[in-house]
């Protein structure tokens, strides 16, 4: 038994939200037809009357009767709202009164001609926007629409009828409609009605009437309308299936790729792609393959951007590729993305050009293999138009000079040799010169070189010599070959150069992204990352960049922006879409704002302060910018997460320390206090009973424990000084013997079980140090050694001067340091795992580290060869010579 199929909860939720919105909204019913005259308005009125009979409050917002009595008859008895008069250039236009309708607020309103364009001065430019407002106000709307007014069908209709429809409505209106009723009439009947004068034809279309109302056209339009309606039914069907958990049977995954070029015709291709994708129910992509160096006029670029935008509006994914061979790029993309159908435009240029330079379309079709290629009227994205890209530079004058020099050189070489050479050989020398020039310099210099070589060849060598006359016609051919060779060679050179340039550009971009990611990977803190990212971005895009991060409440930092700019940035952060200068959203802002999108959502905003923000309308640049922004965002997110983790860790560690400190202190302070209290109270209370040796013992223990507490407090005070930064190092040039000596004396009895050997070289210089503090280092290290090593094992102290520092070694022969703990032992409250109680609170080495570090030195520990621990610390000699001591006569 299989589990009953459950509807996808997300889809259901979306459906519920949709329905809720719809419940508040008015319902929209569209009477849909293939052409004027099929009876849409008639059907609408009939239905309205039926509703009215049912008791529904019906009002007529606007219905065009076009003077037809049968339509007018249907209006009778219905509440027709008065129209609003608008004066426009001396003409009074009667328009639908939106405000009147909203005030009247009927349950159902009829608004004819959805695609109508309102007279200037109306609230909305288009009637469908009025309808939208009515629906939002909760009023049900009946309206009519002809198939040719659908945005996505505009081109097809134009193709069929030859008439460009201007008043289009977005397809989404049709898709949103709650009900669609097709008013259908066969072509023959329609033509009959037309002849009878029963069809209203707008005056402006009167001229096209013959072309429009042809039988073929009408049949095609009817098919379009019916198919569009069927598609909608299909969509409803799928909605139903989704709702009821019916397993959907998807068609084999298709994917449509539309390749557009930099020209206005691309819009047709985009619409064709949309239609194809809709009927195939598949995703589609609009691609523009840019050829570097290709010159595109500003208006073409504008058209390209608009078309890409249109594609996005129609639900396509858009992408821009860059490559010398457009066809190869398109195919590579298509294969990488499992595209099944490619839509391209028909080329409009002459066939000769294709013969000469090859055709993108041809290459595309030949290379397409299993992919279907649809060729649709409209210019294919044809970068071949400038198959020889013009590198964006002009040859400098110096190159012309050099070209002339090369030819002069050829003449100079050939002249003395002419006695032994034939004219043809000389022509070869000149040809070599021309090819050389062409391969090194631009087209201009090569043409100059070939002209110069022809002239000098003719003048100096072609008989009759020293005249420009040509005795033999075949030399004309030689001249022609020279010129052709120059052109071909320079053409090839330029092409190679352009290829190299493309490769370099690509390399540079990849390199830039790589360089940034590499640096980002090495950075630790978010602040570093922001600095690195902004620097790289600024370098790569030549614009001032800032990264704005939100505070804990999600409000972006101002980053020096005024409130208006900040609110744009905030919008970008909240909506995750770019906005600002150079975009369609809030374009009055002075910067372009790009969201920094990471895996957890938008984490910040990139503020691009370009001097020319329109620069980023270029899709390639914009895409690169987004790539950079994406990289930066991911790195920033990583750092943020790491910082958060670290903060947590620090908190846990601080908590651990606090607990550890409290338990250590309470133990270490109370133990000696306990002993003191106990001994003192015994002495007081049992004075008479105590024998002399016992008294002494008690007194001795009081003294010992008091000393122990004194040391403990001293350590704590030192620790506080080290921790709080209050440690003041008063350096003086001192011999190392002094602190060592004082430490040994201070430790006294505590070292009695360990022979301490001190070996300081007699030539050891004075060391700049704070003797009191360094003495404390020795005390702590020696105490440590005494504590952790078995009795009678030796402790060695030695020192040596190396590389501008004095290194001091304190070595013991104890059990050594547990492996891996060499660093940890310097941490606060560290205790060896096997350490017994009452041995100190683990501050000694931390204090040593604090003191040595404050001296600019380093302290470390390791295990000693042959057993035992070795502690080393260095004290820098500061590079300065120890100060001089006044000389004196030799010993008496």
């Amino acid at each position: 038994m299989t589990e009953p199929r459950r509807p996808d909860p997300d889809a259901l939720l979306a459906r519920v939200t949709e329905e809720e919105a719809k419940a508040r909204r008015g319902r929209l019913k569209i009477f849909f037809g293939a052409s004027p005259g099929v009876g849409k308005t008639y059907a609408m009125l009939e239905e309205a009357r039926a509703k009215r009979r049912e008791g529904v409050d019906v009002a007529v917002g606007v219905v065009e009767t076009h003077g037809r009595s049968e339509t007018a008859a249907l209006l009778e008895g219905l509440d027709v709202l008065p129209r609003r008069a608008i004066d426009y250039r001396g003409v009074t236009l009667k328009e639908f009164d939106l405000d009147g309708a909203l005030r009247r607020h009927p349950s159902l309103i009829l608004v004819d001609e959805l695609a109508h364009t309102n007279a200037p001065g109306s609230r909305h430019a288009r009637r469908f926007q009025d309808v939208e407002e009515l629906l939002n106000a909760g009023i049900h709307v009946y309206t009519t629409l002809n198939v040719q007014h659908l945005e996505s069908l505009k081109d097809v209709v134009a193709q069929i009828t030859g008439i460009q429809v201007r008043e289009t409505v977005p397809d989404s209106i049709l898709e949103q409609a709650d009900e669609l009723e097709v008013a259908d009439l066969s072509a023959e009947d329609l033509l009959k009605r037309l002849k009878e004068g029963k069809v209203y034809v707008p005056e402006e279309a009167a001229r096209a009437i013959d072309r429009f109302f042809r039988k073929g056209n009408l049949i095609a339009l009817r098919e379009l309308a019916l198919r569009r309606a069927a598609e909608r039914v299909d969509a409803q069907m799928r909605g139903y299936m989704r709702e009821h958990g019916v397993r959907e049977i998807w068609p084999a995954a298709e994917r449509v790729l539309v390749c557009i070029g930099p020209n206005p015709a691309g819009a047709r291709l985009v619409r064709a792609g949309k239609r194809m994708a809709t009927s195939l129910k598949c995703d589609w992509t609009v691609l523009y393959a840019e050829v570097p160096g290709q010159r595109i006029s500003a208006s073409d670029r504008e058209a390209l951007l608009q078309n890409l935008q249109l594609a996005e509006e129609l639900g396509a994914e858009t992408t821009t590729l860059s490559g010398l061979n457009a066809a190869e790029e398109m195919l590579a993309y298509a294969r990488a993305h499992n595209v099944t159908k490619i839509v391209v435009g028909k080329p409009t240029h002459s066939r000769w050009r294709d013969k000469l330079f090859g055709s993108t379309l041809d290459e595309l079709i030949r290379g397409s293999g299993e992919i279907d290629v649809y060729v649709i009227s409209g210019e294919v994205g044809d970068p071949q138009r400038s198959a020889v890209p013009h590198p964006g530079r002009r040859s400098p004058v110096s190159e012309y000079l050099r070209a002339a020099l090369v030819i002069a050189g050829c003449a100079a070489i050939s002249f003395p040799l002419f006695s032994v050479l034939s004219v043809t050989d000389v022509a070869m020398i000149f040809l070599l010169g021309v090819v050389f020039v062409a391969s090194r310099y631009g087209r201009g210099p090569s043409v100059l070189a070939s002209v110069l070589s022809i002239i000098s060849f003719d003048f100096f060598f072609v008989p009759p010599r020293f005249t420009f006359a040509v005795s033999d016609v075949r030399y004309i051919l030689t001249f022609g070959v020279m010129l052709a060779a120059a052109l071909v060679a320079s053409h090839l050179t330029l092409r190679i150069r352009a290829q190299a340039q493309t490769a370099r550009d690509r390399e540079r971009r990849t390199g830039a992204v790589y360089a940034m990611s590499r640096e980002l990977a090495a950075a630790r803190t978010a602040a570093d990352l922001i600095a690195i990212a902004t620097r790289h971005l600024a370098d790569t895009f030549g614009a001032e960049m800032h990264i704005l991060m939100p505070d804990s409440t999600g409000r972006l930092e101002s980053g020096g922006l005024d409130e208006k700019e900040r609110s744009v940035a905030q919008w970008v952060f909240d909506h995750g879409q770019r906005a600002g200068a150079g975009t369609d959203t809030l374009p009055s802002a002075s910067s372009l704002y790009v969201p920094l999108r990471a895996s957890t959502g938008v984490i910040g905003v990139l503020d691009v302060r370009a001097s020319d923000p329109t620069r980023f309308e270029d899709p390639t640049l914009l895409q690169l910018l987004e790539t950079f922004a994406g990289q930066a965002a991911l790195a920033l997110e990583r750092a943020q997460l790491a910082e958060r983790a670290q903060e947590e860790e620090v908190k846990v560690e601080a908590e651990r320390l606090r607990t550890s400190l409290l338990s250590s202190l309470s133990h270490d302070m109370r133990t000696p206090l306990g002993a003191i209290t106990g001994a003192a109270s015994s002495l007081l209370e049992e004075q008479s009973a105590l024998k002399e040796p016992a008294r002494r013992e008690l007194l001795q223990s009081i003294l010992d424990e008091a000393n122990r507490m004194n040391r403990l407090i001293g350590n704590l005070l030192d620790m506080i000084r080290v921790e709080s930064g209050a440690l003041q190092v008063q350096k003086d040039w001192e011999p190392l013997e002094e602190p060592v000596g004082v430490a040994l004396i201070r430790l006294g009895d505590r070292l009695k079980q360990h022979p301490v050997r001190v070996e300081l070289p007699p030539d050891l210089p004075l060391v700049p140090m704070d003797g009191v503090l360094i003495e404390q280092v020795f005390v702590n290290l020696l105490e440590n050694a005494a504590k952790y090593t078995p009795p009678s094992t030796p402790i060695d102290i030695s020192a040596e001067q190396t590389n501008g520092v004095v290194r001091v070694d304190v070595l013991d022969r104890g059990p050594g340091i547990p492996p891996g703990e060499e660093r940890n032992i310097f941490e606060k409250f560290y205790r060896a795992a096997n350490e017994g109680p009452a041995t100190g609170i683990g501050l000694g080495l931390t204090i040593c580290r604090g003191i040595v570090t404050a001296h600019g030195g380093r302290i470390w520990a390791e295990n000693r060869a042959g057993g035992g621990a070795a502690f080393h610390f260095t004290l820098p000699l500061s590079g300065a010579e120890p100060p001089a001591v006044p000389a004196e006569p030799a010993a008496e």
Partner: protein, 231 residues
């Protein structure tokens, strides 16, 4: 008249500390006089004419260094200051202001008595010429012949070393700050060059001490100066 007990003025605000000092002094044949504030201390110093003054530098009502200076204006009574470890600058300031010695808290009775003995000895001798021969442990210095011996072996010293050593002998048992030593041996212009003293002290130790890192005679007072073991 039998020798009277020396009077020791204790200027100390801590009652526990006063109790300890009182008991210790009393049992060692001193006569303690107590003051709890700086103001009271000055009054007692004038009124009771003490033989030694024990002064705690951490008095709540006044600057112990200033008090030292004021007492020195009219009295040569030895002053021993008491201070905590880590307050070396205070000790030096007090010594330079005219204090004779110092004790670092906590200290034991032995230390206290040793300081008192030295202070009283120096005060009693006053300007009278000192013994021509100084002896401590193996070290013997004959100041008449300018000869220095460790055990039986004569040690040759440079003039500066000798000058430094005799200065230490003159103040044997008392701490001498770097500044005091520099001023006496190298002259008032050299008082900032503490390393002169350190270098010469190291040389002296190498010549006089059996183990220079564990000196028996020339003791280092960390952060303050040096002291010659008196006995």
């Amino acid at each position: 008249m039998a020798e009277t007990k020396p009077v020791v003025l204790v200027i100390e605000d801590e009652p526990q500390m006063r109790r300890f000092l009182h008991a210790a002094l009393d049992s060692h044949d001193y006569r303690p006089v107590e003051a709890t504030t700086a103001k009271e201390g000055v009054a007692q110093a004038t009124g009771r004419n003490p033989d030694v003054i024990l002064l705690d530098l951490g008095l709540p009502d006044g600057d112990g260094i200033d008090l030292t200076r004021r007492i020195r204006e009219w009295s040569a009574t030895p002053i021993i200051v008491i201070s905590a470890r880590g307050k070396e600058q205070d000790k030096i300031a007090a010594l330079d202001a005219g204090a004779d010695d110092y004790l670092t808290k906590p200290f034991d009775v032995g230390e206290l008595m040793a300081r008192l003995r030295v202070a009283l000895r120096h005060a009693a001798r006053g300007d009278s010429p000192q013994e021509p021969v100084f002896e401590v442990g193996e070290l013997r210095v004959d100041q008449m012949r300018r000869q220095v011996f460790v055990g039986d072996k004569e040690v040759h010293l440079t003039p500066t070393e000798y000058k430094l050593l005799t200065l230490m002998i003159r103040h044997a048992g008392k701490v001498l700050t770097h500044r005091q030593l520099l001023k006496e041996v190298w002259g008032p212009n050299a008082v900032e060059h503490a390393h002169y003293v350190r270098v010469y002290m190291t040389q002296l130790r190498r010549k006089l001490e059996a183990d220079a890192t564990r000196p028996k005679y020339l003791l280092t007072e960390p952060g303050v100066g040096y002291r010659l073991r008196p006995e």
